[in-house]
Symmetry: C2
Subunit: 199 residues, 2 copies
DNA sequence: AGAAATGATCTACTTTAATATATCGATACA
DNA sequence: TGTATCGATATATTAAAGTAGATCATTTCT
């Protein structure tokens, strides 16, 4: 609406997309209705501080009032911590989240197997490469495989998937060696727990 | 109201007091009614982004959404630029502003005199010592003297006042030598112009 | 004692954010 | 082709922010 709120709207949308969240997912986390999030991100509403705080909290952001003369320094810090993902990265992030969910949704029986645990560990470690991850296709196939594993003959298939995951993780760990080591950890890792925590 | 808004409320009040503004003065600058500012600073209202933006703008503040992990760094920057004044300092700042106003309100005739100009220069330079200035009594007497100068026999009295101002300024300039030189300039200087600028 | 400025509080009225819910067209996938 | 999810919109209702303006008790200075 106003000029000042435009930056806020853009910042919120970018933060959400960088976390691979849909508006409906963010709605669940923040308690703000999806329809309202849409209006906010489109800068079509003069939102209240409580709404902004809810969204910011759900996005691991903090609201700050900074002196104008300190603003450039703050912007540079924020920029360095918020390298926005390219399209392929965002896709990959989304698939990674889906894969974790699919794994979590598996029946308890096979969820305790060694294969499932190494799979979970590898998916979890991939979160450390949120910035560089690009393998959306591989992750999508893995997600689908996980989703269908309960239907097929189970354990054997799960072991293969776990091996695939290990392979992808190793590749990421290798590639990260020749990129800056700090930027790789600059984004907060997605956590599957705390699904609907606050109120 | 909410927990998150408490910091905002406190930050706004501190910023206002550090600038030596009353709620009514800030109201004129920001367009937000004084009664509303009172409620906002008391954290008794869930204010809208537009209100917050208006106040922030009038106080030379900027609203920022920063990643949680960058928050400590940002806080430290903000702290270093926003050393809040102690009570005596705030009083002195208020008197300084009043003195500048009193000088500006002087009739044009004596406003052009050399004494008035050196007085203005010295008052202006005192703004560079916003953090350390404590001489509220001296400044109050000076302000009163300026206010009454138009009634008495004028020019001669004004010259004495200008000398007093010079003396205070020199003392401040001397004391600042043995304090950090950067903190002395860390607060934005008050500017008498731009009285009612925005809308 | 009187005058002036402070922040907090009240009234009355208008505007609008926020919510719950449903739906829309578009895109992606089987 | 049918299913699912995406963001954007529409509706109706409720709760509360925002505004203008007066008033109050305190404090400060004449």
């Amino acid at each position: 609406m106003t000029y000042a709120s435009e930056h806020i709207a853009v910042a919120l949308r970018e933060a959400r997309e960088n976390k691979g969240l849909s508006q409906r997912e963010l709605s669940k986390r923040s308690g703000v209705p999806q329809s309202h999030i849409s209006k906010i991100e489109s800068n079509n509403v003069d939102l209240r501080l409580s709404s902004l705080a809810s969204l910011a909290h759900a996005l691991d952001l903090e609201l700050a009032l900074i002196p104008r003369k300190a603003a450039p320094a703050v912007r540079s810090i924020t920029r360095s911590t918020t390298l926005q993902s390219d399209r392929g990265n965002a896709d990959a992030l989304r698939e990674l989240v889906r894969a974790q969910r699919a794994l979590a949704a598996l029946p308890a029986a096979m969820h305790d197997s060694g294969a499932a645990q190494t799979l979970q560990k590898n998916l979890s470690e991939m979160n450390n490469f949120r910035n560089v991850i690009q393998e959306s296709d591989a992750l999508r196939q893995m997600r689908i495989a996980i989703e269908t594993v309960s239907n097929s003959d189970g354990m054997k298939r799960l072991q293969e998937i776990a091996k695939d995951a290990q392979r992808i993780r190793n590749m990421l760990a290798h590639s990260i060696g020749q990129i800056s080591n700090e930027t790789a950890r600059s984004k907060p890792a997605y956590r599957l727990d705390e699904e609907d925590s606050d109120g």
